[in-house]
Amino acid sequence: MSQSAKRVRSHAKRSESFKSWLIMLPGLVLMTFFVWEPLFESIRMSLYKTRNVELVRFIGLDNFVSVVGKDDFMQALLNTFSYTFWSLLLGFALPVILAMLIGETRRGKGFFRTAVYLPNMLPGLAVIILWSAFFSGEKSGVFNIILMRLGIPAQTYLTHADWVIPIIILIATWKGAGATALIYMAGMAGVSPELYEAAAIDGATVWHRIIHILLPSIRKLAGTLLILQIISVFQIMYEPMVLTKGGPDNASLSLMQLMWQYAFGGSMNYGKASAVAVIVTLILLVMTAIYSYFNRKESDWD
């Protein structure tokens, strides 16, 4: 190749690279301004004694020690894991089941797809307020009206420390399961029809098709959605904040809500709030790393 051809090619490559960067520039600027800068500022703030948002003096890890040493942190941490547990129990399989059922539907598929997605289109706060009317312990609560019609005495729901997290997760699942189901349906649509035909020729039942074809086909997608679900549930905040205010007796207090309380709940301690935020980030990073490790290993085996 001649020198001039090389030069032309190199110039074209540089030009292409420049254009690529130009296209990315707005995104990078926005990411820097709205994501990275606040992230690093939050880490920095967690290492300082603060007066509202001002940094007063560097105190190392004191904010972390103080936050972690408090009962409400441990309670919030356990609650957050409890949210995650209940979310996986109540909410992980449901979208898969919904997707399978809708996938098997012969008529009105579009209607069912819209129907399951509909709750996701409602504003989050409206959903919580709506469900609070159902779970009200007053005799005017919707569930209590039904119970009383059946001759069962009215019950209280949100004042039970053991019930409150499952109830919140139930509501969150009601709102979010449809959207996840749509993603699964997209994944299921990618499964080759030939596999089903071959299975049918071999006399496989519906159950066998699900176990041996469908589920293995969406395993990777399910893994990704699993980690996304854990990350999402770990950041749960407005649901308990609106429905129970973190009560009773901190039984539904989440880590993100604790962070909010430090910053905006009357003490204006942004340093400690940042410390909680950093801790949550670290926990999620560890979880993501574990998932990535096993995911990579699995890919290697494949």
Binding site: D72, S136, E138, L158, K245, D249, N250, F264, S267
Partner: protein, 477 residues
């Protein structure tokens, strides 16, 4: 400490009265100061959804200001204060020039340098010597510089739903309620009401910080004052949390009994907040609610309880006496206001009738304000001014008497207890009250949701937590 308590008591008595300094606008065409040039952003401006009369009133204020101070530009701002959204606005330079925080927050905002100094402007308007020294203490820093003005005040008592009292047979021959004079009677009457009507005897909002806020009143009546106060400064000046005193333990045991022994509380107390408590009383789901004279419109005109089915009584006494919280709302100012803006803000407060000046327009405005209140079915009640100007206070009271729309026999005991001093008025706990309330609310929630919960253990945990907070924030340990 004694000085603090005394001054707080004084504050409370004045604070109470203040609630109805009315909205007014003078239609004076006279230019007061054409040289004053600045821009003010005015928080709490009525939104588009507000009643037309209210919007017209504020437009009237604006027009008056434009005539009297032609070079002062007023920019309406719908901002309604909350601690959580104020800090970023103040630090970002976007806080409105004037806003309205409750009396729980001024000292916190002053200590965090988040509000503006208006001492010189107050002096210039000649009102610095007309409001109570107690207000100065609440709205000033340690150097005596002043950062706010009182807007209105309240005293905590108890709202009653008389319909439920009647159904329970708790009325005398004249149809007046046989109401609880003591906390013990409150528990017993509540039980009667629950048994006879099936409705909650007492609505107790035990969510967020509300539960702790109300509980401090109960605790005072059990003796958590003076040396047994919930928080105090020791000889070294260190702030000490004191939740484990025998008095506080007894008060918390009483709270527990309200749920498990008397069973008079509303069922969802841990998710009930201030607004829903009013709703429950106003809609006949509860018979009693700890609430103040400034919120009598909530269960009545807002929730439909007829004024003849509503009464306001003094806070029930405990074994250690009768105490009640006096609090209120104040005006405070953005941290970056200039001297000219300070003067313009005082001028604006004068125009809207929040400074102790009287003229025909102000009196007409007072009348309009109380007439509107009466017309929408809210009780028009006596009010106590925070200002010491006797002529001003007398004029206001005369107008209130003119528009009074209730049977005062249902309110007299409440106001008499204040005027005759049979109730001791107290301000909120002096430092980091909101955090203190949050800690106590968690304890209350445990008491009313877990039968047999250990009061001492729960209070000890809360005390340790709040002490750590005090050490960190104020004791600098």
């Amino acid at each position: 400490m004694n000085k603090l308590v005394k001054s707080l008591s004084l504050l409370l008595s004045l604070c109470l009265l203040l609630s109805a300094v009315p909205a007014v606008f003078a239609e004076s065409d006279e230019v007061v100061d054409a040289n004053l040039t600045c821009t003010l952003t005015l928080g709490n401006w009525p939104p588009d959804t507000a009643a037309q009369a209210e919007k017209d009133l504020f437009e009237g204020y604006k027009a008056t200001m434009a005539k009297q101070y032609p070079n002062v530009t007023l920019v309406p701002d719908y901002y309604s204060y909350s601690l959580s959204n104020y800090v970023p606005m103040a630090k970002g330079g976007t806080a409105p020039s004037i806003f309205q925080p409750p009396f729980t927050d001024p000292q916190l905002l002053i200590s965090q340098h988040l509000v503006g100094d208006v001492t010189d402007a107050l002096k210039q308007f000649g009102v610095l010597d007309k409001f109570s020294p107690s207000y100065v203490e609440m709205l000033a820093d340690e150097n005596g510089r002043i950062y706010g003005l009182p807007r209105d005040g309240y005293v905590l008592g108890m709202h009653l739903n008389l319909d439920l009292f009647r159904q329970a047979g708790l009325v005398d021959d004249e149809g007046l309620p046989i109401y609880p004079k003591t906390l013990q009677e409150m528990a017993e009457y509540g039980k009667i009401i629950k048994e006879k009507t099936g409705k909650a005897g007492l609505v107790f909002p035990a969510s967020e910080t509300y539960g702790g806020w109300l509980f401090t009143n109960i605790a005072w009546n059990f003796g958590c004052v003076g040396e047994s106060a919930l928080e105090y400064q020791d000889e070294d000046g260190r702030w000490v949390c004191n939740f484990t005193s025998p008095e506080c333990v007894a008060a918390m045991e009483f709270m527990r009994d309200l749920r498990w022994k008397y069973d008079i509380l509303n069922v969802d107390a841990t998710t009930t907040d201030w607004a829903s408590a009013h709703t429950l009383l106003g809609t006949g789901e509860a018979a009693m609610n700890f609430a103040a004279d400034d919120s009598v419109d909530q269960p009545t005109s807002n929730k439909g309880l007829p004024v003849e089915d509503f009464a306001l009584i003094p806070f029930p006494a405990g074994d250690a006496g009768r105490y009640a919280l006096a609090g209120g709302t104040c005006y405070m100012f953005a941290p970056n206001i200039t001297a000219d803006q300070g003067i313009a803000l005082m001028a604006y407060l004068k125009v809207i009738g929040k400074l102790p000046f009287l003229d025909d327009q102000i009196i007409a405005g007072m009348r309009a304000d109380y007439a509107a209140k009466r017309d929408r079915g809210a009780p028009v009640l006596p009010a106590i001014s925070a200002w010491t100007d006797e002529e001003y206070n007398a004029a206001k009271q005369a107008i209130i008497d003119e528009y009074c729309n209730v049977d005062m026999r249902l309110y007299n005991d409440f106001f008499d207890s204040i005027n005759e001093g049979t109730i001791t008025l107290k301000s909120e706990e002096p430092v980091f009250a909101q955090q203190l309330y949050r800690e106590l609310t968690a304890v209350i929630q445990r008491m009313i949701t877990r039968e047999g919960a250990d009061v001492n253990k729960a209070l000890r945990q809360a005390e340790e937590s709040f002490q750590e907070y005090l050490d960190d924030e104020i004791n600098d340990i």
